[in-house]
Every structure is written in structure tokens, then in C-alpha cells.
């Protein structure tokens, strides 16, 4: 069994995967594997982006979503899928004719109004069966953010966006908390301050020090309530409540006062 392995940490947002999926399927008829995708509007491979934080701690995470490669489809409508030994989900354009319910039910499966069929990622089965070693989207990824691997080789810590998906993610973005610590009275950033991240129970979940720019950042923290404590000899202890339930948090410039 093959599967997609996505690493958003090295996804630069170029959209190559999304574009070559269209290059392969828009206007090209690969029957019996797939009928042409409409010129626009369908995203069998869709690049998502999340703009995170605020100026000057804004960053972006990108990751492709390939919705149709999901066992839930097989469970819901096995009769519309092609029989394949490699486990790739291929909606048969003939068997699936008229099945708008499939498109309505699944993200990543689209209804083709003109052809009256549901359509989605085929794993480029027509290419894999004819000498290609990877689907188009994987071939077009220039940073190895999207790989085609044996399902047995998927790292243990990988996550999936849905239970039955054959698309796995490592380093899927969680939340970050960051700031620049400044002694405004001295007009200087504070370097080497100890910063602790405590959870709602007061347990330390991470700690770090401010760098040469007075910056600290906690990456990949959960969506939860925290307290950030900043300490340094000669400075008043700073304690700041942080809530990452809705979004990443940039505490921006934290005024860190020297002891009088």
C-alpha cells in the first residue's frame, strides 16, 4: 500500500502540486481511469495556507490536502470504485455516473456538472500503471514536502486529517507563542532572559532563553491556556497569561523592567 506523506515544515507554498494536478487532468481524458476535470474550480490536490501571528512575528504554514484518498469513500460507496490491488482509491467514471451524493459527502470529491459524475484524486493511477513511479503532484514537489511512500514506512508520529485517509502529515502546524523582550528604559532588547511556558496546572511544558534580538518563540504548542514567565537577574519577574485556543500568539514587545 502506498500513501502520501506531507511535511508542512518544508512546504514553501509554491502550489506546484495543485497546478500539476490540473495540468494532468483538466482537458485530458484518461478514461477509463478519469474523465477530464473542468478547467477551473476543482482541487483534487488543494494547497491550504494559514497566516500565523502578527507583525513582526507573522509566518505562514502551507500544506496540500488530497481529500479523495480516504477509506471512508470505500466504506460509503464501494460500488463506484475501481478494483485495484495497490489500495489507491479511483472513482470509476462509468460506475459513479449520477452519484452527486458522493461529491456532497466528501471534501476533495467534486461534482462535474457537465459530465454528471463525482471526481477526485486518482493517485494518477493511469501513470502509475504505465511506468511512472509517483503521482504528478509528488513529481512536481521541489522541496520533498510531498512524498509517495509505502504505508509501512510512515513515521509513527504522523497524523491524518481523517481516520481513513491515506494522506499522512508530520510536523502539522499547531500553535506558536513568541515575543521580543525589551528594557524600554534602557532602550535595549534583553538577551538571555529565561522564559518558561507553563500550562493551566502550572507545570512547565517548555523553556527557552531570549536570543540576541531579545526574541523567544515556543513552536508547536497546543491550543490551550498557558502562562509565560520571563525572568532575569536584576529584572522584575514578568508573568503573562496566553491563550492559543483561537490562534498563534505574538506578545510583541514585552516591557521588561529592571529592578529599581
Amino acid at each position: 500500500m502506498k500513501a502520501f506523506l506531507v511535511n508542512p515544515d518544508v512546504c514553501n507554498g509554491c502550489h506546484n502540486c495543485q497546478i500539476v494536478c490540473k495540468d494532468e487532468h483538466c482537458g485530458n481524458d484518461w478514461s477509463p481511469y478519469a474523465k477530464p476535470q473542468p478547467d477551473t474550480g476543482q482541487f483534487w490536490c488543494k494547497l491550504e495556507e494559514r497566516v500565523r501571528g502578527t507583525v513582526p512575528l507573522t509566518r505562514i504554514s502551507y500544506w496540500p490536502v488530497i481529500g479523495a484518498q480516504d477509506e471512508a469513500l470505500r466504506e460509503y460507496a464501494p460500488e463506484i470504485l475501481q478494483d485495484r490491488e495497490d489500495g489507491i482509491i479511483v472513482i470509476d467514471p462509468e460506475k459513479a455516473a449520477g452519484r452527486k451524493d458522493v461529491a456532497d459527502k466528501f471534501e476533495g470529491v467534486y461534482w462535474n456538472e457537465r459530465l454528471q459524475i463525482p471526481q477526485g484524486c486518482t493517485g494518477c493511477a493511469h501513470l502509475l500503471d504505465n511506468g511512472w513511479s509517483v503521482p504528478r503532484c509528488v513529481d512536481a514537489c521541489m522541496t520533498d514536502a510531498l512524498l509517495w511512500v509505502d504505508e509501512a514506512d510512515i513515521p509513527e508520529n504522523a497524523e491524518k486529517l481523517s481516520e481513513g485517509s491515506h494522506v499522512y502529515y508530520v510536523n502539522f502546524p499547531k500553535r506558536f507563542i513568541g515575543a521580543t523582550v525589551v528594557d524600554y528604559a534602557a532602550d535595549e532588547v534583553v538577551i538571555g532572559a529565561r522564559v518558561m511556558l507553563k500550562d493551566a496546572q502550572g507545570a512547565v511544558v517548555a523553556q527557552t532563553e531570549t536570543d540576541d534580538f531579545g526574541d523567544f518563540i515556543f513552536k508547536q504548542v497546543d491550543a490551550a491556556s498557558f502562562t509565560v514567565e520571563i525572568a532575569k537577574d536584576g529584572y522584575e519577574l514578568q508573568s503573562i497569561a496566553v491563550d492559543t485556543h483561537d490562534a498563534d500568539v505574538n506578545l510583541n514587545y514585552v516591557d521588561f523592567k529592571a529592578v529599581a
Binding site: 518544508v10 512546504c11 514553501n12 507554498g13 509554491c14 502550489h15 506546484n16 495543485q18 497546478i19 500539476v20 490540473k22 495540468d23 494532468e24 483538466c26 482537458g27 485530458n28 484518461w30 481511469y33 478547467d39 477551473t40 474550480g41 495556507e49 497566516v51 501571528g53 502578527t54 507583525v55 513582526p56 512575528l57 507573522t58 509566518r59 505562514i60 502551507y62 493511469h126 501513470l127 500503471d129 504505465n130 511506468g131 504528478r136 513529481d139 512536481a140 521541489m142 522541496t143 521580543t180 525589551v182 532602550d187 535595549e188 532588547v189 538577551i191 540576541d212 534580538f213 531579545g214 526574541d215 514587545y253
Partner: protein, 870 residues
């Protein structure tokens, strides 16, 4: 049936090459149609052993260039460009243009076109050329050519028109191609450290290795390596930056916008107001000077004139010390961050990376930040291991092998022998040329003067020669022949260009182009050009940073309707001129040099620099692809400027003194009274011509600085019709009228203050005009700054100065003036603008005809509104 292809061909899908190709792609063709554009796997033809596959090891990790070409989305979406609904199908004539009667020049940009035959069109073009040459002289024909187009060799583009006039022996007036993406380096940095021709560090051999091994950090200053290199050299930059991150090299992005590099790579983003980098740089210098944290010994042995800089920075010259607090007000970076950056830099090994463009290098007085950057590098011992300037594109700048920072290929295959166009040749310039930045003034036949050819490939001393327009033999411009119809969307003050080409002195205006876009719809005659897919050619990939290659570009498909190659059009015009006999006799043979396309391609191959005895023309025809091996022991070649660092006397720079010139002796001698570009770089607040600071009077009416990078989803003005790019949310925003507007980024705080909401349609405006866009509220832009990509396809509602454009082509409202008094470079970034919400339905009522132009929701404007059907 075949699920792969009937045949596959190679194509260069770089979009700005002047004989230097990039982005080698494999095109799969089936049933006469392009079915697929994909990366080329070099190892399908050449083994790793054959190409002497290189890897780089540093800090316990290995960088792999891979054997697959690293194509950008702009190449992979080429089918959209090929099958665009916006192609020019056949020759067209403006309906109210009568060469024997009323020409109605005032209607250019407004009137429609009707189909004519190739013969009719060429007859008119030839007759006009003859008439203008006889009436006014050959210098009255202005040829516009440019690199902002597809990369071709024997098929032409980039100046086949100039070639034709050269072969005729008459010449013409040539549009001199300025250093558009290098302006500050070209006009400023060259006078500090040499580095002809463009002023960025030329000695880049093994700098990738040097940084990987020795640098603590790279400053990505005003550049977007995740965007700008795409059209020229693919995505090796992205792989490099991810790898540098993995091996612990800090990446600090200094730019007003969270560009696509900062978005995914920045360890630290320092937002700086557009075109105020000079203040930030001066304050870093001040910090080093006052804290004694620069390399004084190096300054003594490697430079001249440092005391002049001290005199200025410490405030002895003007009473103003250039302190971090002084800088903070100007550049928007907190003084504590400036000091932190200065101190971190002083104790680290830092290189600065560039990808051309950006707000730092294309604005007013851009020579100052460019010079100051070299000062900064010099003060921390430029050339020392880990301390160089690095470039993320142009790995074969004008075929100079030193410009590739990655392991060098043995051969950089060259297609110059079959490059049938003329763009950067001194020979073609003669004395009749006009800097591209001053074209509107020339077309309006104004009298003006300037210094230098201004051509990007010319050396520093060329900037000291004085020229004027019109020249002694020139009776003004009366005709334009353009193969690069994107002046208004790529250069400065585009609304003035629209006025200029509508003036009655311009009697004839012909454009050859593949797409009905931008300047094209101002022409009197439009000739359709083939695309890459339709042509037979030869090209190279020397810009990828992986392995240099040379390949045969067989036609993938038949030409679109009646399209012909750029070179064929020049030949056809020559053939029609021959009918007049006399000086035109035998012109076609002079242009073709009696060679067929195949002959030209063979000529290109035979002189490419590869060993054609080992790999013959027949081998090339069969294999179609040649890949150069990497040089043996490449890792032993001295990195960057290490030789200069170690022995400046033996390895001098190209400056008059051979050293880094904090005080430029040449500028002091040539321009003793220049207060805008003096011998030592300064902060220049404003001048009589330019009031583009937030402190300027104009800022009361136009309070924002507009930032405009090389676009993410275009190469300058190319690709705006690509339907798969236009679906991306940062590419276009659908307005309430269904029109896809070009996004304008605004910080949430500014948007809130002005009552603007995400998705509103707004006008960017100043006294030069208005351009529309979709309001894109985002934390990707600092307060006080607006951002809009440049190069959106013009869709002009009201023409000329003070006009209105719906497409979002913000070059139309860029400053009309040049960089500074003696520097005729462009200003297309970091200028003042206001923003206000507009009601598109009200505008549509006011301008019903323009708002009802034929429009395809996927690809934008289509020719139907321009072509009268018979």
C-alpha cells in the same frame, strides 16, 4: 491507448532570458495537443556519473541538487499561456487607422481592430518603414525590445527588429535596456566595489559552499528568493534555504512585507519602511563606529576614504549623528532592534542574500542603500570566510561563469551564435538610443539629456558619458516597432507612456506579440507571434544551479492560427521592403544570412562551447539533450572574494583604486556637484523631482508607501491570464462584479482606521492616476505600507496622466522621474499613494463601455472586445 504521450520534447520555460535559458521542462504531446508540462528527469538520458553529480556536505548534512529540474509553477502552468483565450490569432489593423488617410492616433488604446492578411499587414509595415526612413531618417524609427518575454534563441524575440535594421545598414533608434532589477547596484554599488556589469557581487564561485560551511546567518535583505528566481532559475533557492535552516544558519529577512521567503524561512523578520533601508544601514554603521566593533585593520588595508564616512555618520558634516534613534523615525525599525542587529552582526559571520528587485533597489535614490550595503559588508571584512554577498538568481549572468555560486559545470553552453536578436549590443546602439526609462519623453519628442547608455550589461565608466535627445541626425521619433509590448506595466510612470503613444507625431506603431495584452492594444498594426510550444529552436539551462545543459527544442504543436516567430516576422518585413528595391535590395538574405532555422540551430550547437567532436550534431539530434559534467575538484576553487580578502594588492577590485571606495574617486571627479549621488553614500530625504517620503508634503494627500515586488504569480507582465494561477487566493480577488482584481495588502490596523474590509475594491491613487485592486487585509504587511505586486495586465478605463486602470497595473502611477539627477534608472517601488474604497457599480455606470469589455471569469480580458468580427 497511450496514457503518457505520443511524443515528448524539451523546452526552456524561463521567461526573461537573453540567450540564457532556464527551467528545462519536458512537454508531453498527444493527438497534436500539449497534455503535460513536467520537470525533466536528467537521469532518463544522462547518468549521475556522466554529469559528475555534485553534492555538498556541511555540518554533518548533505545537500542534494537532484537530477530533476526544479521547475516553478510559472513553468508548470504554461498550458494556460499556450491555450489562453487571449492569444492574438491573426494580423490586425486598428479600424480607424488609414495609412493613406486619417490615422487617429488619439484613439490608440480605445479603438478596435479588424483582421487583415499577412500580406496586407506586411505591405503596410514595409511602406511605413520606407516612408519614415525617407521623410525623417532611420533614427525616427524606435525599436522596442526587451528581456521581459519568453526565452528563445533562433526563433527570436528580444530585438529581431533591431537586427533587421542593423543588417539593412541603416540602424534605428534603440530602446536602451536599463538595469531594471539591479538599479541601485548598477548606479551605486559599482562605484564602491566595481563588480561590472550590474554591481552585485560577481565573484560568486563556491559562495554556496562558503556560506554553508562558515556563515552564522544570512540576511535576506529586500529580496524574495521564493519568488523572484522562479522565472529565471527555478526553485534551487528554496531547497538551499531549507537546508541552511536544517544545518543551523539563521535567516533574517529585512523587508516591509512578509514576502514569500520571510513567510516560510525567517528566523527573524525585521519590517522596514520601503526605501528607508539607507537609514537603517547608517545606524548600524553608527553603532559599529561608536562601539568599535568593525574590522579597522581590514579598512586600512582594503579600502580608501573611510574617514569621509565617519565624518558623515558621526554627524560632523551636518550636525546630525546617524544614531539608531535618528534611524528609527525614518525606517520604522525600533532603535533597540537596530542595535541588536548591529551587535549580532559584529560578532557573527554574515552573508547577505539577494534575489534582485525588492523595495530596496528599485526606488528613488536606490544607489544609496546599495552603496551602504557594500560599506556594511566591508566593515565586517568582506571576503572573509562566511562573509560575502550571495545571489539567488542569475547563475549565468551574461555568461560570466563566476556568477554561479553553486558547483560549476565544466561548460556553460552558449547559444549566442544563433541568437538572432539584438538587445544589449553596443554595436546596435550607435548614438541613436534612448534610455528605456525616458521613452515617453522621446516619443513626445521632448529635448532632454542624460548620462550613459544605461544598458544593464555596460561597465561603470559608461555612466560618465553625456548624451542628449534628439541626437544631431535625429528628427524625432515617428514610428515604433515593438516586440516587448509591456512598457506601461513594467516601467515607470506608465500613464505618461499612454499619453506619449497617442500623440500625432507618432505616425505608425506596430507591435508583434503572442497575447493581446498591455501596450499591444495601442498599436496600429498587431502581428501574431508563436509561443515556445510552436517553435523549432535550441536553448540551454544555465540558470538552474544544478547542471548546465543544452537541448534541442522541437515544435510540440502547430502554430496558433496564423502566428509566426519573431524572427520570421523580421524576415517577412525585410522581404516586403525588398519590393521597393534600392537600399532594400537583397535585405531578406541579409537578415536570414541564407540560413534555414535548422542551419541556425546547428550553428548555435557547433559554437555552444561543448566538444562537438565527442558529442556531434548527429548525437545531439538523436539525444536532444546534453548535460555538462561538474568540474573536477570544484570544491578547491577559491570561494567568493577570499583572494581579495587575503591579498588585496594581488587581487584588486575593478575600482579605480583597486580597493573598496567608501569615497568614490570617480564620482568625485565626474560629478563634483551631485548632491543626490555624491562621492560618499548619504541619506537623501528628497529632491526637487522626488517627494516620495512619509515626511514629504505629498504624504498628507498620499499617506502610504506602496511596496511592489516582482510578482509571485507572474514574471513581470507575463502569465496574468493563467487560469490556474488566478484561482490562487493571493493572485486575484473576485469583486462583487465578478471581476478578478489584483490584491492590495493592507495591515489590519490601517484597514480598521480607514474602514476598509477584506474583499472591498479600492483605488490606489496619487496625482499620476488611480489603479484598482482588491483589499487584502493581512498581517503580512507593516502598518503605513501598502503592497501590490507589479505587472498586472492593464485594463485602462481612463487613459493618460491622471487616468484610471481597473487591472491594477501600479507601474502606471509610479514616479515619472529617474532615480536621481545623473542616474537614468527606473523608480517603480516605494512611492507614495493613498487608498480609498470605490463602488465598482458606480464606476461601471460612469464608464459603461470600458467596464463591459469582453471578459472571461477564468482568464480575464479576452480579445473579443478588441476585434471586430466580420
Amino acid at each position: 491507448m497511450s496514457f503518457i504521450a505520443d511524443k515528448s520534447v524539451y523546452k526552456s520555460l524561463g521567461f526573461c532570458g537573453v540567450g540564457d535559458g532556464a527551467n528545462l521542462a519536458t512537454i508531453d504531446v498527444k493527438d497534436g495537443k500539449v497534455v503535460r508540462v513536467r520537470p525533466t528527469h536528467l537521469d532518463e538520458v544522462w547518468s549521475k556519473e556522466q554529469v559528475n553529480y555534485w553534492t555538498l556536505e556541511a555540518r554533518g548534512s548533505t545537500f542534494e541538487p537532484g537530477m530533476k529540474t526544479l521547475l516553478p509553477p510559472l513553468a508548470l502552468t504554461y498550458k494556460n499561456r499556450e491555450y489562453s483565450k487571449n492569444r492574438v490569432p491573426y494580423p490586425l489593423i486598428r479600424v480607424d487607422f488609414d495609412p493613406n488617410g486619417e490615422r487617429n492616433p488619439q484613439n490608440r488604446g480605445k479603438s478596435k481592430y479588424r483582421r487583415i492578411s499577412w500580406d496586407e499587414a506586411l505591405d503596410i509595415c514595409a511602406a511605413e518603414i520606407k516612408r519614415i526612413q525617407e521623410t525623417y531618417g532611420p533614427a525616427s524609427i524606435l525599436c522596442q525590445a526587451d528581456g521581459h518575454a519568453e526565452t528563445k534563441s533562433a526563433a527570436g524575440t528580444h530585438g529581431t527588429n533591431v537586427t533587421m535594421f542593423q543588417r539593412l545598414g541603416s540602424g534605428c533608434t534603440v530602446q536602451a535596456r536599463n538595469a531594471d532589477s539591479w538599479e541601485g547596484w548598477y548606479w551605486g554599488a559599482k562605484h564602491v566595489w566595481g563588480m561590472d556589469p550590474v554591481g552585485e557581487q560577481t565573484s560568486l564561485t563556491n559562495v554556496f559552499k562558503d556560506i554553508s560551511e562558515n556563515s552564522d546567518a544570512v540576511l535576506l535583505w529586500g529580496c524574495d528568493c521564493e519568488t523572484t528566481p522562479w522565472g529565471w532559475g527555478g526553485q534551487i533557492s528554496s531547497r538551499s534555504l531549507y537546508w541552511w535552516k536544517e544545518i543551523g544558519i539563521k535567516q533574517i529577512c529585512i523587508c516591509p512585507d512578509l514576502n514569500y521567503t520571510a513567510a516560510v524561512h525567517a528566523d527573524k523578520w525585521i519590517p522596514v519602511l520601503p526605501n528607508t533601508d539607507a537609514a537603517l544601514q547608517l545606524a548600524i554603521i553608527y553603532t559599529w563606529m561608536t562601539e568599535g566593533t568593525y574590522d579597522r585593520d581590514y579598512i586600512d588595508t582594503h579600502s580608501i576614504g573611510f574617514d569621509w564616512l565617519e565624518y558623515y555618520v558621526l554627524g560632523r558634516e551636518d550636525g546630525i549623528p546617524k544614531t539608531p534613534k535618528w534611524a528609527e523615525e525614518k525606517c520604522g525599525v525600533p532603535s533597540f532592534t537596530i542595535k541588536a542587529l548591529a551587535r549580532y552582526w559584529a560578532k557573527s559571520r554574515i552573508s547577505i542574500g539577494h534575489g534582485n528587485g525588492g523595495g530596496m533597489i528599485r526606488s528613488v535614490f536606490s544607489h544609496e542603500p546599495a552603496r551602504l550595503e557594500v560599506y556594511l559588508l566591508a566593515m565586517q571584512a568582506l571576503g572573509r570566510p562566511g562573509c560575502n554577498q550571495f545571489k539567488f538568481l542569475e547563475k549565468a549572468l551574461f555568461y560570466d561563469p563566476r556568477t554561479n555560486p553553486y558547483p560549476r559545470s565544466q561548460v556553460m553552453p552558449n547559444t549566442q551564435a544563433c541568437y538572432v536578436s539584438m538587445l544589449l549590443d553596443a554595436e546596435a546602439m550607435g548614438t541613436n538610443f534612448v534610455p528605456k526609462t525616458l521613452i515617453p519623453q522621446a516619443v513626445e519628442n521632448k529635448t532632454f539629456d542624460w548620462y550613459g547608455h544605461t544598458v544593464c550589461a555596460f561597465p561603470a565608466h559608461d555612466q560618465f558619458v553625456h548624451y542628449q535627445f534628439p541626437g544631431p541626425e535625429n528628427k524625432g521619433i515617428h514610428m515604433i516597432w515593438s516586440d516587448a509590448p509591456c512598457w506601461q506595466t513594467c516601467w515607470n510612470g506608465g500613464f505618461l507612456f499612454q499619453d506619449a503613444v497617442r500623440n500625432p507625431d507618432l505616425e505608425f506603431y506596430m507591435v508583434q506579440h503572442a497575447w493581446m495584452e498591455n501596450d499591444t492594444v495601442f498599436a496600429d498594426i498587431i502581428l501574431p507571434v508563436t509561443s515556445k510550444m510552436e517553435e523549432y529552436d535550441i536553448d540551454n539551462d544555465v540558470e538552474s544551479g544544478q547542471f548546465c545543459s543544452l537541448y534541442l527544442e522541437e515544435p510540440a504543436i502547430e502554430p496558433y492560427v496564423e502566428a509566426r516567430t519573431d524572427f520570421q516576422i523580421a524576415i517577412d518585413v525585410a522581404e516586403h521592403l525588398e519590393k521597393f528595391g534600392g537600399v532594400y535590395e537583397g535585405l531578406k538574405a541579409k537578415v536570414t544570412q541564407n540560413r534555414t532555422t535548422e542551419d541556425w540551430i546547428r550553428e548555435g550547437f557547433m559554437h555552444s562551447g561543448i566538444n562537438t567532436e565527442e558529442f556531434t550534431w548527429e548525437d545531439f539530434k538523436e539525444k536532444k539533450l546534453w548535460v555538462s559534467p561538474t568540474v573536477e575538484n570544484w570544491q578547491d576553487e577559491p570561494a567568493g572574494l577570499i583572494n581579495f580578502y587575503e591579498d588585496p594588492e594581488r587581487y584588486p577590485l575593478e575600482t579605480p583604486s583597486g580597493k573598496i571606495e567608501f569615497y568614490s574617486t570617480a564620482l568625485a571627479e565626474q560629478f563634483p556637484d551631485d548632491t543626490e549621488r555624491g562621492p560618499v553614500a548619504h541619506w537623501v530625504e528628497e529632491t526637487d523631482v522626488h517627494h516620495e517620503r512619509i515626511t514629504s508634503d505629498r504624504a498628507e494627500k498620499y499617506p502610504f508607501l506602496l511596496m511592489s515586488n516582482h510578482p509571485r504569480w507572474r514574471v513581470h507582465a507575463q502569465h496574468d491570464d493563467c487560469i490556474w494561477l488566478r484561482e490562487i487566493s493571493t493572485c486575484k480577488m473576485k469583486g462583487p462584479d465578478g471581476y478578478a482584481y489584483e490584491p492590495i495588502w493592507i495591515n489590519p490596523a490601517d484597514a480598521k482606521r480607514l474602514g476598509l474590509k477584506h474583499g472591498d475594491i479600492a483605488a490606489l491613487y496619487n496625482e499620476r492616476g488611480r489603479v484598482l485592486g482588491g483589499v487584502y487585509v493581512t498581517e503580512r504587511i507593516m502598518p503605513g505600507v501598502l503592497y501590490q505586486d507589479h505587472g498586472a495586465r492593464a485594463d485602462t478605463i481612463v487613459h493618460g496622466a491622471g487616468g484610471l486602470d481597473r487591472g491594477g497595473a501600479n507601474n502606471l502611477i509610479a514616479p515619472n522621474g529617474i532615480i536621481s539627477k545623473n542616474c537614468a534608472g527606473e523608480v517603480t517601488n516605494g512611492f507614495l499613494a493613498g487608498i480609498e474604497k470605490v463602488d465598482v457599480f458606480e464606476l461601471a455606470e460612469q464608464y459603461p463601455e470600458q467596464f463591459n469589455r469582453a471578459y472571461d471569469p477564468d482568464c480575464g480580458l479576452i480579445p473579443d472586445s478588441w476585434i471586430v468580427k466580420e
